[in-house]
């Protein structure tokens, strides 16, 4: 039983963190209909930012979030104004090519600057500590903090989008860019802002994640794929959709845990031989495929 509970808890916690990774992607997509292949690389940059800031200044990793957010925000705006806006005029092929090129660029710049070896945080208030809440469920403190901050971030973004003027301007642009322009909302600036916010949220996610996952220049792609799956599931452009879809995907990655639960509860030895842990991301991709084919709108989406 504890296997089942640990898996569920782990899945939900991870899901909340993955949700915030996907948040940036869905904002960018919502506002300008571009799919950002380089999304995972932003995450990776956020991770390095958090790690290096903590190591350089000696402050606790959790306090590096503002730094990471700033870096992400600026990077997002630079990417938009320096490159992405040229892509928008072109066909979708060009956009895919372009963001893919951006992905390669960021990944290899990181490789050039940081080297290919894994780096991880070893010190910090919460690093390495966990809470044992009984029933065999162990919650690493860093994951709990990340999940909590993720919820806070979601709340913040939701407030931003719905309660502030800027947020409403963004929403207007995403619903109908031309109409928004007629109302005096400058599309270019909104686009840049979307990239800024999108970039900022995902680098915050990175600075959180680096507390419990190690970073190297190549991890971006996996997260990009997971983020796509979450955004597709939740509905491209929907902020609450990203949150719930994140939880769902988090649970999906815990399928090996559920499988183990069934294996040991019913003692079916043959089940232990199935290499479930190796396939945990495959289920995510499969889920993406099925959702796209069966319900392209996702759970909450309004864009097709």
């Amino acid at each position: 039983m504890d296997i089942l509970l640990s898996s569920i808890v782990a899945g939900l916690l991870l899901g909340m963190v993955l949700a915030i990774v996907a948040l940036g992607l869905t904002i960018i997509f919502g506002v300008m209909d571009i799919v950002n292949f380089a999304h995972g690389e932003f995450l990776m940059i956020g991770m390095y930012t958090g790690l290096l800031t903590a190591q350089a200044t000696g402050i606790d990793p959790l306090l590096t979030l503002p730094v990471a957010a700033a870096v992400g925000f600026v990077l997002g705006i630079i990417c938009y104004t320096g490159f992405i806006r040229f892509l928008l005029r072109g066909p979708m092929i060009a956009q895919l090519l372009g963001t893919f090129g951006l992905m390669l660029l960021l990944r290899n710049l990181a490789l050039l600057i940081f080297g290919s070896e894994d780096r991880a945080l070893h010190h910090g208030i919460l690093v390495g500590k966990s809470f044992d809440i009984g029933m065999g469920i162990i919650i690493p403190a860093t994951k709990l903090a990340a999940a909590g901050l993720s919820i806070a971030a979601f709340g913040g973004v939701w407030l931003l989008m719905n309660r502030t003027r800027i947020g409403q301007a963004l929403t207007a642009t995403s619903l109908n860019a031309q109409g928004a322009r007629y109302m005096g909302i400058p599309t270019q600036r909104m686009n840049a802002l979307a990239w800024g916010i999108g970039g900022g949220t995902v680098t915050i996610a990175g600075a959180l994640i680096v507390n419990f996952w190690s970073v190297n220049p190549f991890i971006g792609l996996l997260f990009t794929m997971i983020a796509f799956a979450i955004v597709a599931l939740g509905g491209f452009g929907s902020v609450p959709g990203a949150f719930f879809a994140g939880l769902v995907v988090g649970i999906i990655t815990e399928i090996p845990g559920f499988w183990d639960f069934l294996t040991y509860t019913f003692n079916w030895e043959w089940m232990a031989d199935v290499p479930m842990t190796s396939l945990k991301y495959m289920w995510v991709y499969l889920a993406y495929f099925l959702i796209m084919v069966l319900r392209p709108r996702g759970l909450f989406g309004w864009k097709q």
Binding site: S6, G115, E117, G128, F212, W213, N216, T253, A272
Partner: protein, 437 residues
């Protein structure tokens, strides 16, 4: 129109220029070129550094006469049977990628015209590189890849000095049996039912997957219950579901085959999830590199690892101490299984070349097959180096042996590896069971 023409001409002339410039073959006086392909970047870069340093030290000793080292290689300057010819190593980085390794091997053979190859640590890369060497009839010596399959392919141009995983894993099971019989220093006999259940997590490429199979085989043979056996990706950023799966199996003994970054991650995750096995054992590789100890600090105390060399060996072998002192002066670290074996790999090349007296492939091949290096020449605690030439395994050194070490905290607070197997050379009491996280 013009741009098409221009780009076409540019490409063609580029290719022509490169093609005409690249084929080297500029030869000076007799220099013996050996290509060494190692993971100098990537997840095992830490090991790559050790490997490179080991080879470089060996080349220094080979090319010049060095006093205070009781090794025939060190006493001579260059290869005496070839008029003092010096050895030159061309290092290449395979990044852990087997196809890249094969490409590099091809280039070394065809463009750099090396006389032989050395490498490659990752069994998956050694597999492809040796296939290329075999295809072109270029001799290759392998110092540290332990997948058993490498010497059962019937290759005639491949020799491996290190013992392989069947031996090492058998050591593990002999050790566990010894534990139940009270043979382990400092531990009373442990009832078999206490360490009956095993769980294994191995990285999924050539090396790890074979270790996994060998563990399964021996579990049956020695009568242990392997509850869970899984393969994982060494580049995975997160191993928590793997560790949860291991915990769920409630195994008493956890066995691992991991490279550097995944070994560190695995132990960190085990600690974070408060896993509680009685024995934790690693099949060398990542468990042995200095980074492992440096990064994890006290968390490694109690972990067992198969190894081929520990600093304690210097107490038993004088020449090991002498070389270790030189190595420490060069790199700041003691020799490890990786560096000791890459050193030995190059040393084997020196002996083979001495015996062959020429760089003719056929002469090298004969010399290697007739080779007999006595144990006292080696820094590693083996009986010697002699390659099998008949039977299922060809080119395998039959005189090697392994050790099992355990990380323990010394009196001065430093973390050291103590020998716990073979029982008669144990250097300290074993810590059993594995300390609580």
């Amino acid at each position: 129109m013009k741009s098409l023409l221009k780009s076409g001409v540019l490409v063609l002339s580029l290719l022509l220029a490169i093609g005409l410039i690249l084929p080297s073959g500029a030869t000076a006086e007799k220099v013996i070129k050996i290509g060494a392909i190692y993971p100098l970047t990537g997840g095992a870069a830490a090991a790559g550094r050790e490997l490179r340093a080991g080879v470089e030290l060996a080349v220094e000793l080979a090319n010049s006469a060095v006093a205070n080292v009781d090794m025939s290689m060190a006493k001579n300057a260059g290869i005496t049977s070839m008029g003092g010819a010096k050895i030159e190593i061309i290092f290449k980085d395979h990044e852990g990628n087997p196809t890249l390794g094969a490409d590099l091997a091809k280039k070394l053979i065809l463009d750099d015209k090396v006389d032989g190859l050395l490498g490659c640590y990752h069994s998956s890369v050694t597999k492809t590189v040796s296939a290329v060497a075999e295809q072109y009839g270029v001799p290759m010596i392998n110092g540290s890849s332990t997948s058993p399959a490498l010497t059962t392919r019937g290759f005639k141009w491949f020799w491996r000095t290190t013992p392989h995983d069947v031996w090492f894993t058998r050591d593990l099971f002999e050790f566990m049996n010894g534990l139940t019989e009270g043979k382990v220093k400092g531990v009373a006999a442990v009832p078999k039912k206490d360490i009956m259940t095993l769980a294994a997590a191995c990285e999924k490429t050539e090396w790890g997957s074979f270790v996994s199979e060998v563990i399964e085989q021996f579990s049956k043979e020695y009568g242990y219950d392997l509850k869970k056996s899984m393969l994982y990706a060494k580049e995975a950023p997160d191993l928590s579901s793997e560790v949860r799966s291991l915990k769920a199996s409630r195994a008493d003994v956890m066995l691992f085959a991991s490279y550097t970054s995944d070994a560190i991650l695995m132990i960190k995750t085990l600690k974070a999830q408060k896993a509680q096995p009685k024995i934790v054992w690693g099949q060398d590789a990542g468990f042995e590199v200095p980074e492992f100890r440096a990064t994890l600090g006290d968390s490694v105390v109690g972990i067992l690892t198969r190894t081929v060399f520990l600093p304690q060996v210097v107490q038993v072998k004088k020449v090991a101490g002498q070389v270790n002192a030189l190595y420490k002066a060069k790199t700041g670290n003691d020799l490890t299984g990786a560096s000791a074996r890459s050193f030995t790999g190059l040393q084997t090349w020196v002996h083979v070349l001495e015996k062959a007296g020429s760089t003719e492939p056929a002469a090298i091949q004969k010399a290697a097959n007739d080779l007999n290096i006595p144990g006292n020449e080696l820094v590693v605690p083996w009986a010697g180096i002699k390659f099998s030439t008949t039977g299922d395994e060809i080119g395998q050194n039959t005189l090697g042996s392994g050790l099992i070490g355990q990380y323990q905290k010394a009196a001065d607070g430093q973390i050291v590896l103590e020998i716990v197997y073979p029982f008669d050379v144990a250097s300290a009491d074993m810590i059993y069971p594995f300390p609580k996280y």
